[in-house]
Structure formats: structure tokens, C-alpha cells
Subunit: 412 residues, 2 copies
């Protein structure tokens, strides 16, 4: 290990739970220094301490029911600024040189979409200069400077994105994501008791798992890591053992058909009834929703009866009221009928690149659910995943039986 890290450039990201108090900050400092001492150059991206961001948001809500997003960014970006300064101090206190930077200060340039900005580029001159001076560089995650010279934030989980983008910009050898779990599991261990830690997983599988409910990694961060082929190592900040390596191709000899299962109940279903079945109507509906930033996940269109059809789709629950309002306008425009919605649903997904070469996975999935008397409401499939909408009350059971049915539990 010692040799492998010599002359490497490592980007490490410490999540909020890894720096939630003074002791944990000191612990992170020790971890960072142990890396630096092995000869690596280390750039650290850090989240706000524990629940700081939530506390700031709640403070803002006490002031105003609808605080402007520009001011929210001004407010929320302080959380990471605090933790990065404290982490630099903790490293200094151990006798090692380090320097902290805010996102705007170090040149993380974003677009102008406050509270969910996208990184456009990262100016690395300052970072490289400090690294060459032998310093550990600590950067406030989650934030940047917009092209309009305003402070922006990258949205929830944005520190993962900061870390990956930083790794890309610096040409890092690896990007380590330190968190409060020790890796990616075949299912949420709180629901599936014998869920197993995955040692290697592909970017594509991780993306499917993340977008289907696995909360450990932020989807956007995995997308960027995939695009630039930066291996991600998700691991615990409290344990020494290896976590999960997310990479282009896993070289493990056993290639399981299914890598993991995931569950989420944060979506709601919307149905537009009696939609005229003619070309361009579906495109119109989803263009309109997309234009207003409603992210649609699953879409199902029933067989047409008398040139009429029902179109169902799922959206994040938080977008439901906005979606229903937009849908009314859409429905009257395209001369469709009623709009119904259902929040009492869960989505269970089965993910694995092995599906590409194995037929019958979908069928096996449906039959496992059927055998357990779990009714499927909607189905959507991709090349490497199958998702089913079930009743919310059946969600956990569905996850458990699929995990068992695909034999994902700990090998005894």
C-alpha cells in the first residue's frame, strides 16, 4: 500500500457525518495526514458539519416562507466554509501544513442556477501551487462561483460532485468518498439483514442503484466519475477496512447477474386519463413538464381504446403539487380528461450489468413478487435494471424477497 500511494494524487471527500463534531474533525485530520505521509498529494473536499445545512435552511424558513435562492446559497455555503477552516486547523495542530479554500475562492466556476448549479470548470492553478508547496489542500464542497460572480451551491449531495469534479480537473488517481457507512451494499442493510458489502461495482450499476434509491452516492457525481473514468472508493471514515470501488469495469471473476436491489418511496404517481392517442401528444406532455424542471422517472402508457389512452408517470413527491398544477394546463390544452395521483407507492429495483447477457431476469423478478403476493402497478426496465412500482406497504417485503430470490445475501 505504501508504495502504491507514492507520488499519487488523491482527492478525498469527507461527508457531514464524518466531520460532525470536534472529535470527528480531528479523526479526519489523522486520516488525511496518514495518507499524505505515504507520499501522496492530498486534496480534501469537505461537507458541512453534521446537520448544519438543515439548520441553516430551517433558520431561513423562520425568516421567510419562500427565501430567494440566491440568498439561500449565500447562507448555506457558510456550512462548508466553517468545516474546511476547522479541518485545516486540526491538520495544523498535528504539525502538518494545510490550507483551506471556499469554492468561489479556489475557482470552482458554475452556471447561474442557484441552489442547483452545475460546475462548468475548475481553475486549478492555486490548488496545484499549494500542493507543490507541500500543503494539503482543503476545499469547501457543495459550492462555487457563478459566471455572474455570485456564490452558488450544487444541490443536495453536491459535495460528492465537488470531489469528483476536482479529481477530474486535477487528474487525480482516485477519488475517495468517506462516509458513515463502509461501502455500497446489495440492499439497504436496515431493511435486508443479510445484505452484503459489494467490493467492486461498475459506474453503470452504481448509477442505477443510486437513482433507484440507494442513498450513499449522489447520481450526478457518479455520472461525472464515469464520464472521465475516475475510480471512486466509497469507504468508512471510522474504520480502516476497504470499502466499495466504483469503476469502469470490475475484474472480479464471479460476475453476478444482479448486483443489488434498491427501494425508494419518495415518488408519486400521476395519471392523465383519456389522452387523445395521436402523434406528438406524449412528447408535448413531457416536454412541458421538463421545461418546468419536473423530473419524470417512470412512464407507462396503456393500450389505446377508442383513440383514447391513459398516461401514467412518476415524479418526486416534492414535485407533486407543481406537477398536478402543470398537468391541469396540459390536459386542457391537449383535450384530455381527469388527472389522478397516488402517493402511497414504493419503487423496488433490481440492478446488475449481468442482465445484459442473461435473459429472463425480468421474468424471474416478476415471478418472485407474484409468489409473494405482491402486486405490480407499473414496470420500467433499462438494459441493466428492472423497476417495479408496488404498494408502499409492500415495499420492504418486495426488497427482501428479491434480495433473497436473486441470492444476494452473505455467503455462509
Amino acid at each position: 500500500m505504501q508504495d502504491k500511494l507514492k507520488n499519487k494524487l488523491v482527492v478525498q471527500k469527507y461527508g457531514g457525518s464524518s466531520v460532525s463534531n470536534v472529535e470527528k474533525i480531528k479523526n479526519a485530520a489523522h486520516k488525511i495526514i496518514s495518507y499524505a505521509k505515504k507520499g501522496s498529494q492530498v486534496v480534501v473536499v469537505v461537507s458541512a458539519m453534521g446537520d448544519t445545512t438543515d439548520e441553516l435552511v430551517s433558520l431561513a424558513r423562520k425568516i421567510s416562507s419562500q427565501p430567494r435562492e440566491r440568498e439561500m446559497d449565500m447562507l448555506m455555503s457558510t456550512g462548508e466554509q466553517i468545516s474546511c477552516a476547522l479541518l485545516a486547523m486540526a491538520i495544523h495542530d498535528l504539525g502538518i501544513d494545510a490550507i483551506s479554500f471556499t469554492g468561489p475562492q479556489v475557482g470552482i466556476i458554475t452556471d447561474t442556477y442557484h441552489t442547483q448549479a452545475k460546475i462548468l470548470k475548475i481553475e486549478t492553478n492555486r490548488i496545484k501551487k499549494e500542493l507543490d508547496n507541500g500543503k494539503i489542500v482543503i476545499i469547501a464542497g457543495f459550492q462555487g462561483l457563478s459566471t455572474a460572480l455570485e456564490i452558488t451551491t450544487l444541490g443536495r449531495g453536491g459535495s460528492d460532485l465537488s470531489a469528483v469534479a476536482m479529481a477530474v480537473a486535477l487528474g487525480a488517481d482516485v477519488c475517495e468518498i468517506y462516509t458513515d457507512v463502509d461501502g455500497i451494499y446489495t440492499a439497504d442493510p436496515r431493511i435486508v439483514r443479510d445484505a452484503e458489502k459489494i467490493s467492486h461495482i461498475t459506474f453503470d450499476e452504481m448509477l442505477e442503484l443510486a437513482s433507484r434509491g440507494a442513498q450513499v452516492m449522489h447520481t450526478r457525481a457518479v455520472e461525472v466519475a464515469k464520464k472521465f473514468n475516475i475510480p471512486l472508493h466509497v469507504r468508512s471514515s471510522f474504520l480502516k477496512k476497504e470499502g466499495t470501488l466504483i469503476m469502469q469495469n470490475t475484474s472480479s471473476i464471479e460476475k453476478p447477474v444482479v448486483r443489488g436491489v434498491a427501494l425508494t418511496d419518495n415518488e408519486a404517481k400521476v395519471t392523465l386519463c383519456d389522452v387523445p392517442d395521436k402523434p406528438g401528444v406524449a412528447a408535448y406532455i413531457f416536454n412541458e413538464l421538463g421545461r418546468r424542471n419536473v423530473n419524470v422517472d417512470m412512464i407507462v402508457q396503456n393500450v389505446s381504446h377508442k383513440k383514447m389512452t391513459d398516461v401514467s408517470f412518476t415524479v418526486a413527491k416534492k414535485d407533486l403539487s407543481k406537477t398536478l398544477k402543470l398537468s391541469k394546463g396540459i390536459s386542457s390544452k391537449i383535450k384530455a380528461g381527469n388527472i389522478t395521483s397516488e402517493q402511497n407507492i414504493a419503487k423496488v429495483s433490481v440492478v446488475g450489468v449481468g442482465m445484459r447477457s442473461h435473459s429472463g431476469v425480468a421474468a424471474k423478478c416478476f415471478s418472485i413478487l407474484a409468489k409473494n403476493k405482491i402486486n405490480i402497478d407499473m414496470i420500467s426496465t433499462s438494459e441493466i435494471s428492472i423497476s417495479c412500482i408496488v404498494k408502499k406497504s409492500s415495499g420492504k417485503k418486495a426488497l427482501q424477497v428479491l434480495h433473497k430470490g436473486f441470492n444476494l445475501g452473505k455467503k455462509k
Copy 2:
């Protein structure tokens, strides 16, 4: 009042106690808006909420006993960033347009002395643009961007300085300092019961009072206001009544000889014994201390005996241990004798521009103290002030008898 404020540019500063919680922030927002509605352009400089800065400092001390000053600035500057964002939100919530800025963002350029930076210049383009767009501009006090592009803070009370410097840069008509007291008093009302609020006071008198212990205004801020002749209005953020106007010349008909009295016990006395009495020795002593950033206040040199003399001076208590260390070096260099120190002292001062034209004020001061059996240890006088060092235990009594003796109490 309505007319007087038309087309005026006002800089208002809200101290930490004026924005210490959600209710107070909303209260400040109302106050700001009521000004803006009268037709003034308003720029607001805001401190961190309540004890935020102290809490951040204490957090840093838990991480490291000697946190680096650059990182302290990174950390502490978040306090004002939070309050300025929240204040902007509170103004929005009342339907008025406003925009918040950090010090670095808006172009408050400082030198590179972290934790006690000096403002070099303020770039006003952005502020003027937003004011011309009809916005109230909210600026984080206490902070700036150094010429090395680092975040700096201006030292304790620095928000006053931010406000005054902003008023100078923008050519404001007045700079209002909102705080938790309703003005400057003839003495600390907690010690002198019948202390009276002063309606008008000159910059010089305010400077003497502030540097002699009156805590309401920051000395550096008053100095800058004096230099650029910006009237300061110190007033309560919770009451409607007028506070104290600090200006070049007060036009009040009655010109009291003495404007106020002040007390401080945060100084310590150091004595270098048996200092060779030859030219250049005193200069050497105080140059050496100044070079190490020890601020010396009063200096007394005794009459020489056998070409030897004792040199006593006072310094801030926090600098005492540093001063004693330096003094040892100085003493051995100049071949002087022992060094003694005394912390158990208080300094009582009498201030007023009227002294310039009235002789006998010093004599009256000494006789008031003598009549009350208060022994004077050191004396220092300026054109408009007299300060005496007395035993710490006599400090409050000295303040009270001087206040009474110079007839400063409320006129019945």
C-alpha cells in the same frame, strides 16, 4: 424628517445584539424599509448574530490551541455572511427588493494582516448599480478581501469600521450605528446612576472616550469618520428616539467643559527600573515594543537619580505576558534593572473639548480625587482629556465622584 431623507444615501450598521435572533432580524428589516420608503438609498452593514463570533472562536480553540489567523478569518467571516443573507430574506419577505454581499464579493479590499486587517479601498461599482436598481444593499461587516485574494477580518468591532468606510466610499450623508444602547452617555450608566445621554459630541471627544473605556463605538471607526467628516448617529435598534450624533463640531449653545468620564480596568502597568538616563533610551524601548505590536497607552518617566530613572507604562492586560518577555530583552540590552508589573489598576478619564479653553480642569480633577481619598498612581493628559491610574478597587468610586464633581448628571 420625511423631506430631510429624500434622495439621501444612508449607511446603517446593525450590531450583533440587533440581529441576535429571528425576531430581531425581522425588526431590523422593518426599520431599514421604513427608511427606504422615505426616499433614501440604504446600504446596510451587519454584524454576526449575537454571540456567533465568540462561538466560532471557541469551536476553533477546541480544535487547536493556536489556530492560524488565516483560517480564523475563513471561519469567523461566516458569521456575518449568515446574518446578511437572513436580513436580505427578511426584507424580501416584506415585499422590498434587497441583495446581500460578503465583504470579499463586494470589493472591500484590505491589507494582508489576518484577524486585524485594515481596509485599503472599497470598490463601489456593484453597490451603486444595485442601489440604482432600487435595491437595498446588505453587506457583511467585519470582513474583506486581502490584496493576496484571501478572506480577512478587521478585528473586534470591525463592523463599525466597515460601515464608516462604506459611508466614506459611497459619499453617504450619514452613517447610523444601531446598537443595544440608545446613545453615548456622560458615564457608564451601570456605574453612574444619573449618567445622561449626550445628544451631540465631537469626533475628538468620542475618540478620547472610546480609547479611555467607553465601549459603544470602535476607535478606528471614529477615526475614519473624523478623517472624512462623516457624521455618525449612534442609536438604539429597539427604540425610535434619536441617539447621539458624533460630528466635527457640535453646535449646541451650552458647551460643557467636560463631556463625559470613562473607566477601564483592562490595562496593566509595567515598570522598568534603573534605566540609564541618556538620549535615545526611551525611543529604543518603545520602538522595540511597537515593532512587536504592543500598544503602549500611558508612559511616565520619573525624575532621574544618579543618571538612573524608572520608566512606567501601561499596556492592554492581554499583552502583558508578551510585554514582560520583550521587556526582559530590552532591559538587558540597555543595561537597565528589574522589571515589575501591576494588574490591579484602573484608569479613570475626563474628556471634553471645552478643556482647550478652560484652564484648571486637571487641578479640579486631582482635587476631586484627593478630597475622596483616592490615590493617583500615574497621570497622563492630552489637549482634551485627563487620565489617572488608580487602584482597581477605587475605579468605580473615582468615576462616580468625577461625574458628580464636573456636574455631568441629569439636570433636574
